[in-house]
Amino acid sequence: MLSRVKSSLVNIAAGIAVCAAFALSTGGAQADSNIAGKKVIFVPIAAGLTLTEAWSRRVKEHADYYGYSFDIRDPAFKMDAMSELLAKAISDKPDVLIVHNPTVQLLARQIKEAESKGIRVVQINLQSNQPSTAYTGANWERIGREIAEDIVKECGAGSGKSGEVSIIPGQLTAADSVMLNQAAFKVFAAHPEIKVVSNQASDWEPEKARQITTTVLQQHPNLCAIFGHWDVHTMGAGKAVKDAGLQGKVIVYATGGGDDKTCQAVEDGILNRVWSYDADGQGRDLADLVDVLLQGGAATDHTMLTIDSPLKIIKLGPGYDKNLCFKL
């Protein structure tokens, strides 16, 4: 059922995207649409991040074209401010509310409240425990599983390596970290030769990731791989690997939105393999989804509409191209 909903939604979205792309390419044109004047509010974890800026840019383009309003409320990483801003956004009664969940639980009650008041909530990239009208973003289970399988291939039986792995989540309760770890540990459970020697959160900060990695490398000089849950903080870990003179020996894995800084880090050898969910592409998926919801689209059985972001694996080698990354 879900796949049917997904495929029909993707078809609608693709149609709209083609129209929108055509119209946008004509420059500043406006559609004569039935969704003009509607209201969309976005509450990200913080504005000013490449991810959130990439998403906002695309929705803003669609808002300008179709004539609906698009408003960003920036809590700047402050969780209490985020709940307050979301409460204010709900009281403003938008037609669509876009929410970027910092943890699986924090905004669950408010998402439920918004839906009960008829506001259609789209969750972007990080999903809450509470289902809503739609979700678009990375399939974290898939990313965690694929990276873990790659680690097993590189560090597991027959590789001649230690099998020691260090995991650096953002926060242990963050939605993506929870799912990435669950998926990875499920894979590792079938491979006892893989030993997770460290699993410590960096609070998304590169400097903390660097300090953790420096200490872990001291105790485990034969470390085979580092699995960082976000490319930005994992760059700190990659820097520690470089400073220890272990570049090339320790494989640094990360996930991320895939902007030009990610490609630069891969070229510099700070990161080795990045599973990119392409934040720019996500922005277009999000904008299409908002357009569809504003036009009344919904799953016929009231399940959550879902668009999984296509993945790109960024690593040096024959298939590498700078254009795998986008530039804001």
């Binding site: 990483f77 402050k78 609070d203 872990v216 760059m235 800084k261």
Partner: protein, 313 residues
């Protein structure tokens, strides 16, 4: 001091890889920025002040350095301009406290918000993170060994430590700093130039913040404004100073106290990482050990009418 030694002994016995020379180097390099910041904060607190804007100035200084170097300025110009901007921020703090007579805590709390806000929106145009390329002068400088075995961040830490010690111990400014902390009104009444001294103290704190900022930015390859927002580094700096034995009412303590406080925090952080404890468990243990440290100190050095003065927290 006793708690620090006890923790070192415990970790040496129970944690494989703790009592090694390599790990000592890791502890030194990971706590370089913390100790550098603590030197500046220590001096401010001894003068009965408090600088809550240190982490904001630290990030602002590193952001200024990165912005000028990305803009292609020559290295002397980058260093000169960054020093100027950072000193001006410290001067502004000192002026608010000494001349406008706003309490240090409020003045620096307000300036921290203003500095972080201004730099994030006017300089970084809303970005939270500034990534430094590997050829950035700060990255190049702090990535190398000054002499074999002595990394640049650790050298910067030692130099800051020695300079702060010399300042406090052998200069007029140092003596005025202690006098201000001991009894501010008396220091003022006997004709010590407490206002210019306050300016210099906050400027020095700002400069130590700049050095720490460059060390962190160079080692992690990023200038990260979230360090200001989440606040944990600032609390750690104040903890280092207070746990080491410098009272918040000022007037006492010295570099030995800062070294002990920093060693306690750095050793705990390192040991808990080696133990692979979760972040939540680390916070819990840190809190418990800190309470034990303060309680033990109170037991062995009970308060009396001489030490239990107004303003002590």
């Amino acid at each position: 001091m006793g708690v620090t030694v006890a923790i070192v002994l415990l970790l040496s016995v129970f944690v494989q890889g703790f009592a090694t020379f390599g790990n000592l180097r890791v502890i030194a390099s990971n706590s370089a920025a913390l100790l550098i910041l603590s030197c500046g904060m220590g001096m401010v607190i001894i003068s009965r002040g408090l600088d809550l804007s240190m982490v904001a100035i630290m990030v602002a200084g590193a952001a200024t350095f990165a912005t000028f170097s990305n803009a292609g300025y020559s290295e002397p110009a980058i260093v000169g301009l960054t020093l100027l901007v950072t000193a001006a921020l410290g001067l502004a703090n000192g002026w608010l406290i000494a001349y406008v007579e706003i309490p240090a805590m409020l003045a620096t709390l307000a300036s921290a918000m203003a500095i972080a806000g201004f730099f994030r929106f006017a300089v970084l145009r809303g970005e939270f993170l500034l990534l430094l390329p590997p050829d950035n002068p700060a990255v190049v400088f702090f990535s190398r060994d000054v002499v074999p075995g002595l990394t640049a961040p650790v050298a910067a830490m030692i130099i800051t430590f020695v300079v702060t010690w010399l300042l406090l111990r052998f200069t007029t400014l140092g003596r005025i700093t202690y006098a201000m902390g001991d009894n501010f009104q008396a220091a003022r009444l006997i004709g010590l130039r407490v206002r210019p001294a306050t300016l210099l103290i906050y400027m020095y704190a700002a400069l130590t913040a700049l050095v720490a900022g460059l060390v962190i930015a160079a080692s992690s390859g990023t200038v990260d404004f979230r360090t200001v927002a989440n606040g944990s580094l600032l609390y750690e700096v104040i903890l280092v100073v207070v746990l080491g034995g410098i009272p918040l009412r000022g007037g006492r303590g010295g570099m030995r106290n800062i070294l002990v406080g920093c060693a306690l925090i750095a050793v705990m952080r390192n040991g808990m990482t080696l133990f692979d404890l979760s972040t939540q468990m680390q916070d819990l243990l840190k809190g418990v050990v800190l309470i034990i440290a303060v309680a033990t100190d109170n037991y062995f050095n009970p308060r009396d009418t001489e030490t239990d003065t107004v303003g002590d927290l």
